[in-house]
Amino acid sequence: MDINLALVLLLAPFLGFLTNIFLGKSLGKNVSGAIGTIAVAISFAMSLFFFLQINQTGQPISIHLFDWIAISNFNIEFGFLLDQLSLLWLLFVTGIGSLIHLYSISYMHDDENMHKFFAYLNLFVFFMITLVMGSNLLIMFIGWEGVGLCSYLLIGFWYKNQNYNDAAKKAFIMNRIGDLGFLVGIFIIGALFNTLDFATLKATILAGNNLNAYWIGAAALALFIGASGKSAQIPLYTWLPDAMAGPTPVSALIHAATMVTAGIFMITRLNFLFDLAPAIQNIIAVIGAITALVAATIGLVQNDIKKVLAYSTVSQLGLMFLALGLGAYEIAVFHVITHAFFKACLFLGSGSVIHALHHEQDMRKMGGLRKAMPITFITMLISSLAISGIFPLSGFWSKDEILMTAYHQSPVLWVIGSIASILTAFYMFRLMYLTFFKEFRGSEEQKHHLHESPALITFPLIVLAILAAIGGLISLPGHSWLNHYLEPLFSKAHEAHHLGTTEYMLMAIATVGALIGIGIAYAKYIKQAQVPEEDEKITGFSKVLYNKYYVDEVYDAIIVKPINLLSRFFRDYVETALAAIVFGFGKAANELSYQGKKIQNGSIGFYLFAFVIGFCAIVSYLILAQKKF
């Protein structure tokens, strides 16, 4: 029974993909959209069922389909592991996924390739489910690669624009660089423990006899490189802002809620491994904190509404990695969930705005949309308050837990995290003020057409905003359902924070910091009514921030250009040499036969001459060349 339902969970989106890719064109837009949405909704229903079951019994469900690789004593099975962590992930992936599918029916309605869009979205959900449900590292890797592929397909969905294609390529290649690290990690783990299965690994590691600390550290580092590729940490983060070239539902689903959380999922899955490598955990925490800060600073001056949200995502992911590095896995998971809610809501809201303004994304041309698009405004306001960490919304609880843990372990990281949070509040409200307040700065024609988006767009917004508001209830300090739920997964029980004076002080500091950020934004953009300048007029440090610290240019110079040179060298010299050799064989044979043809000149005298010579040769070899006779 369980196997069948699990297979339905896994395969419903895949069937949706097949239907839409082959029959989508003939089925029409609404039907293909409905099929896509229903497929993911079915998966959501199944995951809900399994979630309720596991909530009651606490027993993970292990499903074994068949033995895949069996080499002497190294066995990899093809199977799924439905435990607390994977079901939690499945819930929000399929849940938010179905909401975004619903949203896309309306958002992508003008696009002629809508069926392809839904096909790719379904394929993405299918691979994400594979990633989450896999019972060993190899199946997770299949899903990992698959979501990378779908990300490429979806970012470059409007393929007629070369810039979008380049962005898609960039995303895929950077992902692949990370994947190399992931593979190296898999190899090391396979060599060390002779298995890739999560349950077996956990048992072996927790049993803890003669574990090679050096190699475990190496494996952890390699896996972290993989995670940083997928979850956009320094130095592999530059693809995520460029990935905003894809349609907004794609940004919401993949680059806010699901794919980028795969790295965090993987590290949480292997928490027992990372617990054994404290040095690597330090590295993770530091990189997470720095990423959070750097991305926040870049987000301060961006003018494209989606780019601001992209850098915000990178920054929040940095906070999640900070939590992971501090060993607080449940808190990282908590922040993943709350972030999924409010970030998806923000992206979908920005999509609604973009749709209303006919694909205008520059905030300098927006403004005053409060009256025209009330639902969008209110939902985005709630999500912005959540992300800024205002009590009592969900973001407050999760971010505060992270900062509290950081304070207890390393005050420096706490400072960095807090500054990042203050900057987050600032630029989120900068976004809100520039988009929804004051007067509309766009063209007259756009002003006439301003209206609220249709129900299919606003309904997911409302649902997500509600979740962003009340999502914090799943893990209140001192009484955390989430911690209790995830307890069987972790070896080191994480002590809940006792709410003492320090904690209240930290909460107060964080809230005050967020209010200061909002206040400065208010002063700048409402009181002084400033509008960010045109691109050419930006100078000084703002210019550095606006150009993302020129990191892309640096990467281009030190990595892309040498590789291009190398490939051009190979094409010009090595390939011509090889072609000359290969064709040379053909030419030599040709020449040989052409010369050889001249022996057959038809003159009998010559044939007889050859006859005589041949006879002499044979006879002299046979008789005269023998030493003995």
Binding site: K597, Q600, N601, G602, S603, I604, G605, L608, F609, V612
Partner: protein
């Protein structure tokens, strides 16, 4: 009576036969007229016949001479057919120059 070989020795006959054979080969390669080529072939055959007879005396066996008998029969047949072909070539090409028979050129 003593065999003639006692007086002359078989090496001389071998040398003579070899020389005659090689003259025949030379003639085949040297001349352009097809009939002279035929004649050279006959020279070669004769050289071989001579050698056979010499060795027949050497072994005191008549089988060598029997072989010469058959060799002559075959030579006669070959000349008949060969000359017939030559006549037919002459009728088609107008000359019996060996250098003109080049249609098998590849």
């Amino acid at each position: 009576m003593d065999s003639v070989l006692n007086q002359i020795g078989i090496e001389n006959y071998i040398f003579l036969s070899v020389a005659l054979f090689c003259i025949g080969v030379f003639g085949v390669l040297y001349r352009r007229n097809a009939i002279i080529v035929f004649m050279s072939i006959e020279i070669m055959l004769n050289a071989v016949n001579l050698l056979f007879v010499a060795f027949s005396t050497y072994h005191q066996d008549a089988q060598g001479q029997v072989f010469v008998f058959f060799s002559m029969a075959v030579a006669a047949a070959e000349v008949a057919v060969g000359l017939a072909i030559l006549v037919s070539i002459f009728r088609n090409l107008g000359s019996i120059d060996v250098a003109n028979l080049k249609n098998l050129k590849g």
